[in-house]
C-alpha cells in the first residue's frame, strides 16, 4: 500500500486509529483485554519472551479475549520484565518483575477479577499530549 499524498496519510491515520480503537474496545465492547509486553533488549534479557508466550497461552487456554502485543522499553529496566495491562474501560496499569508466577497472579486476580495486585509501577512521567 503506497501512500501518495499528505491527504492519503491523514486518511490512513484515521483508518488505523479506528482499527486500533476497534481492537481496544471491540465490537463486543467491553471484553477485550490489552496486554503490552516490553520487549527491548533489557526486557528480553530478563525473560520477557517467556513471559509473553506464557501470557498468550494462558489467556488463550482460559478463553479470555485479549490482544497481546510487544512494545519497546518503558524505562523501568530495574523491574523487567514489565507489562502493561489495559482492562476494558480502565486506565492502563503497569506491572514489574513479571515472571510466569507473577503473570499467573495478574491473570487470576487482575484480568479475571479486576483486583489490583502488588507490584504496580506507577506512571511517573508526562506525555507530550499532557
Amino acid at each position: 500500500m503506497k501512500i501518495k499524498t499528505l491527504a492519503d496519510l491523514k486518511k490512513i491515520k484515521a483508518e488505523v486509529q479506528e482499527k486500533i480503537k476497534l481492537r481496544e474496545q471491540g465490537e463486543n465492547a467491553g471484553n477485550i483485554v490489552q496486554v503490552k509486553v516490553a520487549m527491548a533488549t533489557c526486557g528480553i534479557a530478563s525473560g520477557a519472551k517467556e513471559t509473553m508466550s506464557f501470557i498468550i497461552e494462558e489467556l488463550d487456554f482460559r478463553g479470555i479475549d485479549a490482544v497481546v502485543t510487544q512494545t519497546g522499553c518503558m524505562g523501568y529496566c530495574y523491574a523487567e520484565p514489565t507489562i502493561e495491562v489495559t482492562l476494558p474501560g480502565k486506565d492502563p496499569v503497569v506491572y514489574g518483575y513479571v515472571d510466569r508466577e507473577k503473570a499467573r497472579q495478574i491473570i487470576d486476580e487482575y484480568i479475571v477479577k479486576g483486583e489490583l495486585v502488588d507490584g504496580i509501577i506507577p506512571v511517573n512521567y508526562k506525555t507530550i499530549d499532557e
Binding site: 491515520k13 503490552k36 519497546g72
Partner: protein
Amino acid sequence: MADYKMHILVCGGTGCRASQSDKIVETFKTELEMHGLDDEVKVVATGCFGFCEKGPIVKIIPDNTFYVQAGVVDVKDIVEEHIIKGRPLKRLLYHDPATKSQVTDTAHIDFYKKQVRIALRNCGFINPENIEEYIARDGYAALGSVLEMKPSEATQMVKDSGLRGRGGGGFPTGLKWEITAKEKSDQKYVVCNADEGDPGAFMDRSILEGDPHSVIEAMAICGYCIGAGKGLVYIRAEYPLAINRLKIALNQAREFGLLGNDILGSGFDFDIDIRYGAGAFVCGEETALIHSMEGYRGEPTVKPPFPSVSGYLGKPTNVNNVETFANIPVIFNKGVEWFKSIGTENSRGTKVFALAGKVNNVGLIEVPMGITLREVIFDIGGGIRGGKKFKAVQTGGPSGGCLTEQHLDTPIDYDNLIAVGSMMGSGGMIVMDEDDCMVSIAKFYLEFTLDESCGKCTPCRIGNKRLHEILVKITSGNGIEEDIERLRVLGNVIKETSLCGLGQTSPNPVLSTLDNFYDEYLAHVNDKKCPAGQCKDLVHYEINANACTGCTLCFRNCPVGAISGEKKMPHYIDQSLCIKCGVCFEKCRFKAISIV
C-alpha cells in the same frame, strides 16, 4: 468472593520502604479487618512513584486521592475518615508550593511528574514492528507538513526550537542543517550516529528498539531540508535487536511509500541504508565515523573541513545522533513554541538519561533540561541502593566528570554541566556511593579510553598510557605526592593537544576527581590508605577477636585457606596467604571482620 470497591496503593519503593511503608501496608490490613472492610477494600504495594522526597506515598483508587508523607500513625485516620466517611484527609494532601493550594489528584501535581517523554514518546506504547501504530500516533505527519514547506522554512523552525545535539557536544541542530544546506553539491548525505559507546549508556538503543520510525521520519525531514537524497544509519553491530527492528521499519516505510521516490507526491526522493560499526568508541566521533563508513580505519581527522562541508565520500554530510532525530517530528507536530516552553533558556527540551550504578531505580528516564541532579537521583532514581551515602555521579561517560554532593542542586543543562567540570555527553549517568574509591574510578575510565584510543595522535596514545601508569602506582601504594601534580599537568596537556574529542576529554575523569576528591588522592599517596577500602594493595582484612564467635563461616568460605581457628574460638587471617577478595567480610554475620 471478595468484591473490592476500593484499592489503597502504598508505595513499596525502596525510599518509602525505608520509612516503614511495609508496616503501613500491614496496619492498613489490620485496621480494615477491624472495621470489617477487608472484603471491600484491598491494600496493594506498588513500585516507586518517583516522588521519594515526599514519601511514604499512599494513593486511594478510584477517587485518585494522593497522600504524601503518610506515616503508620495516619493509617487509622485514613480508614476512618476517608474510607468510611469519604472525606479526604486534608493534612496529608500535597501542598503545591507554587499555588499554595492542596491537590488531591496526581494529575494535578505538576511537581510530581518530573519526567516528560518527547524522544521516548512512543517507547513502550507502540509495537515497533508495526508502522500503522506509529502512523496512528501522528507518525509521518511531520514529514507530510514539512514537504509542503520550503526547506529553508523547516530548517528555520528547527533553528528556532533551540534543539541542540543530544549526542554530547550540544551543537545547535538547526544551525548544522543550515550550514549543510548552503553547500552546493550534486549529492549530500544525512547520517544518523547510532554508535553508542559510553559505558552504561543505552538511550539510543532503546529508541531504535522502541520507536525506529521516529528516526527514519526525522532523517527524511533532514534530507529534505539540506537537499540530501540519501541517508545512512551508522549503528554498532552489537545491537542486533535494534538493527533488526530498524530493518523491518525501513522496509515498511518503503512499502508505504514514505521512503523512496516522490514521497507523498512532493517530488522529493529519499532512502536510507544501514552501515555497521565494529564497536570502536572513537567511531562515535563524526569524522572517524565517516571514515569507518567509507571503509577506512576509524580514525578521526582534523576539523575543518567539517562534515557539513566535506563528509562522506567528500560530499556535504549532516551527522546527528539518534535522540536528536527522535525530537524532530515533535517540533513540527507540536510547534516551536511548545518545544521551547520545556527546558531552560539555552538548553531547550528534554534529555534522556540512562540511570545506572548504585541507584535503586536503574532505568531510562527523560527529564526536562534544568532539573537538578538531586531530583534525578533521589526522586526518579529512588535514592542510593542499600541506604548508603551518595558520593558522586559521573555524567558524560569516560569524557565527562564526577559531580559531588555540592553539585546536587545544580540545574542540569549543557552549559551548567561544563561550568562544573563535567559535560552532558550522550546521557550515561552512573551513580556512586561511599564504597567507591574515586581514584579507582578514574583509573577504570582511563583504562577504557586507553583501550579505545585509536593511536593516531601522540598525546592520546602515549599521554593516556602515562596517566594510567601514575594511577596504577598510586592505587598500589607506591605513589608520592608529586605524582598528583604530574597527573594534573599531564592531563591538561593531553586535553589541549589531542586531535579529536576522545583525547581532548579523556583526562576529564582524572581531573574532576582531583578537583573534587583531592583528599582521597592524598590519603592514597601519603597515608597509603584507601578510604573506601577498594584498593587491594592498600587494605587488609582483620578479625576482631572479641566480636568473633568462631562460627567458622569465614573459614569455610575462604577460597585460599587463609583463615584458621578452632570452632567457637576466635579465628585469624594469615596475611601472607590472603588475596583480599573480601568474601569473609561479606559472609561474617557478626561484623567481626574489618577492612584496615
